[in-house]
């Protein structure tokens, strides 16, 4: 849901070419194992994004 805000900000700042790392919402109310799973997914995404051309 916050992706729209991020995309709009990127467009407003002329940074549409930047890669976007997306963490699934919501984080609040998640049990620790759920948060750990999201963190692992984020690290995985980050690795892909950093390796992207």
């Amino acid at each position: 849901m916050f992706q729209k805000l991020a995309l709009s900000e990127m467009a407003a700042l002329g940074a549409t070419a930047l890669p976007l790392l997306v963490v699934q919402h919501p984080l609040g109310g998640e049990k620790p194992e759920g948060v750990s799973r999201r963190a692992a997914q984020a690290v995985e995404q980050l690795g892909s994004l950093l390796g992207a051309p």
Partner: protein
């Protein structure tokens, strides 16, 4: 219903009949849902002239879309809101306060919390403009309050891009987001005006922007002493569901005492500083209660609070006595209000020129 559509890129001038303007602005996502006054070039020019600044003068970029916030853009939204040129200097000062980094407008605009900037006007200009401070001051019926508050909201939406559900991510929003502007009832206050307590001269007209929730009522028809009333104020302030106290370092409370409550408190010998101290000391919850819910587990407390182990220990909501703001507003009756802030924005004041 889905959220309002995003603002569209548009030509600088539209040729529309007066009765077509509102529909067109709604279609483009340029309104708050209520009818607007069409911002014709003549009306906007008159508004700009009242500010005494060049229309292209920018006060900086406004989040979350980081658009230049110029005098002309503020004037357009002021016209749309139904403001008159005499109000414009207040709006210019208010927008500059909103853009102060201490206010953290990005956080206020984009958060899921139902925060709205409350505009508080103090000083001789408030009376000259007719800004209402009496009965029902937070509600409808007072043009100056309604249109200045609405102009702020339209600026936040149309310049900043704070569109509900798109860039303003408030889960439920707040009626205070339509309009939220009052003056202090200085003549009915037993103490110096709020702006004087913040270091300004009595003769100055000052706008204070406070990023707060809608008012929480304090009903006390019984108290005849300062502690009697202020214990009630403190109890309203201390709730598990509030942001205040969890995100500690920037937590602030605004206490708006009704004139009758203020008179009772002052008759007991309390100064404003005493009121602030009392609320600071009593608006607390025991650690054991804080563990029941709210934000416990993701709270941001200073080390000394983190190290408390006694469940009976009463923990404060705000970092210091000066993070309790106290003012007087309202009419006859035994009601006051507590306005918790959103805890990532601090109140900012600016002098209003030309009012």
């Amino acid at each position: 219903m889905s959220a309002a559509p995003p603002p569209e890129a548009a030509p600088r001038e539209l040729e529309l009949a007066e009765e077509e303007v509102f529909e067109e602005f709604v279609r483009r996502g340029w309104c708050d849902g209520l009818p607007i006054v069409p911002p014709t070039p003549e009306r906007v020019a008159a508004m700009v002239a009242a500010g005494g600044l060049e229309p292209a003068r920018s006060f900086g970029v406004m989040p979350p879309l980081w658009r230049e916030c110029t005098v002309e853009k503020i004037a357009i939204n002021a016209v749309m809101a139904g403001s008159v040129p005499a109000h414009f200097p207040v709006l210019l000062a208010a927008v500059q306060a909103l853009l102060d980094p201490a206010f953290n407008l990005y956080g206020v605009q984009a958060t899921t919390h139902p925060v709205a900037p409350l505009l508080i006007l103090n000083g001789p200009g408030a009376e000259r403009l007719g800004m209402h401070s009496g009965s029902g001051c937070f509600g409808p019926g007072f043009r100056v309050n309604a249109t200045i508050g609405r102009a702020i909201r339209l600026v936040l939406m149309n310049v900043g891009g704070g569109w509900p559900g798109r860039h303003d991510m408030a889960t439920q929003g707040s009626p205070a987001k339509f309009s939220f502007a009052i003056a202090e009832a200085e003549a009915l206050s037993p103490w110096a005006p709020l702006h004087v307590s913040l270091g300004f001269a009595k003769e100055q007209t000052v706008v204070t922007m406070f990023g707060g929730e809608a008012p929480h009522n304090v009903n006390d028809h019984v108290g005849t002493t300062a502690p009697g009333i202020l214990n009630n104020v403190a109890d309203v302030a201390a709730t598990l569901g509030s942001n205040v106290g969890w995100y500690f370092s920037q937590s602030q409370l605004l206490v708006v005492l009704g004139p009758e409550h203020a008179a009772t408190v002052a008759a007991d010998g309390f100064t404003r500083e005493d009121v602030k101290r009392f609320v600071y000391e009593h608006a607390r919850m025991p650690l054991g209660r804080l563990k029941l819910g709210g934000m416990y587990g993701i709270h941001d407390w200073p080390l000394w609070m983190q190290k408390v182990t006694d469940d009976a220990q009463m923990l404060p909501l705000v970092p210091s006595v000066d993070d309790v703001y106290v003012m007087v507003a309202g009419g006859p009756g035994k009601h006051s209000a507590v306005i918790p802030n959103c805890t990532f924005s601090r109140a900012v004041s600016r002098v209003v020129d030309r009012v």
